[in-house]
């Protein structure tokens, strides 16, 4: 899995690069699309025009890899929710912590970067 950087930004270039992946994740707000995605994830990725790299990141649930490819967390979160994964789970993935460790860090006041 990809190691996270600290400076992801959905600028216009990232939005263009990540267009297909964000469009796919956004489509999952529709129950019928969730059903079709779950039936055949690879075919769904192809139908949304994802690159091979993007498709791999989706199929492997490489959450950080998705960010590298231009995804926005507000879009990929819909995929996470389909998998019944929380924002605290994702926070753990990005920071190399377990969900429990990440939640404990939040409960102790969050992560301070001085």
């Amino acid at each position: 899995m990809t190691e996270a950087r600290d400076n992801y930004l959905l600028d216009v270039a990232a939005s263009r690069r990540g267009y297909a992946i964000n469009r796919l994740c956004g489509s999952l707000k529709d129950p019928e699309n969730r059903r079709r995605f779950s039936e055949d994830e690879a075919a769904y990725c192809d139908a949304y025009g994802l690159s091979e790299e993007q498709k791999k990141a989706i199929l492997e649930r490489d959450w950080t890899g998705m960010l590298e490819l231009g995804a926005s967390i507000f879009y990929t979160f819909k995929l996470a929710m389909l998998d019944q994964k929380s924002m605290q789970y994702l926070g753990g993935v990005f920071t190399g912590m377990s969900t429990e460790e990440f939640m404990a860090a939040m409960r102790s006041g969050g992560r301070n970067f001085g």
Partner: protein, 288 residues
Amino acid sequence: MARIIWGLATSHVPSIGAAMDNGKTADDYWKPLFDGYEPARRWMAEHTPDVAVVVYNDHANAVDLDQVPAFAIGTADRYPVADEGWGRRPVPPVTGAPELSEHLVRELIDDSFDITTYHRLDVDHGLTVPLSVYCPEPGQAWPCAVVPLLVNVIQYPQPTAARCLALGKALGRAIRSFPQDISVAVFGTGGMSHQLAGARAGLINTGFDRMFLDAIEHDPEKLAALTREDYIREAGTEGIELIMWLVMRGALSDTITRVHETYHVPASNTAAGLALFEDLGDREGAPA
């Protein structure tokens, strides 16, 4: 003429709504936050506006990345509650105030704010959670009509903080020139510090948040002078939502009083803040 009676700044994290929807507000995790809301809620319940102008951002629900308007206003009679991918929140649909919307769009465009309009808009947690913070038990209908005002905070470059404060000032003028005798509340939503993605996920900057909570009342110009890079560095990539508080603050007069404030960490991966201001400048009989 319309009067602005109060302004509410509040976080709009989805889990705050989920805590209310699932009866968890008395749990250890949530109780401090909801106890903190209580005095503000009591006061607002005694000061029901006819219309709330809710400044918020959509989160990949009604607005996608095909078009990204910097500023937009809902102009519909009614706004359905969005299904964000895990079912609709069990809250009433939102009733619009289309005549006020139409007036605001015209006045703001005449004031050089080129507003996008939404005739169809499913409102997501960005709008419904602040309504629930205001009114936890709406029953069959919310206590007031709503004009949604959307700000792009998701795609960089977002509008500047200075532009948001200026929009708020124009919004205040536009509301006060609406030729109906109604009372209006203005909501500024989002924040406070949070970063959802990347190696800085979980960032909380209490020092910045406390400074912001104070300056939003006393020195909004100082906050308007911060760049978007300042917001992202200090408050996190999603902490830039705080620029929406400046729209609310700009709409209020210079004579405001702080009714209540609360701050709590954590609400999900964020710092949750609330600040409620009564607008005295527009009170009937108040000096102009």
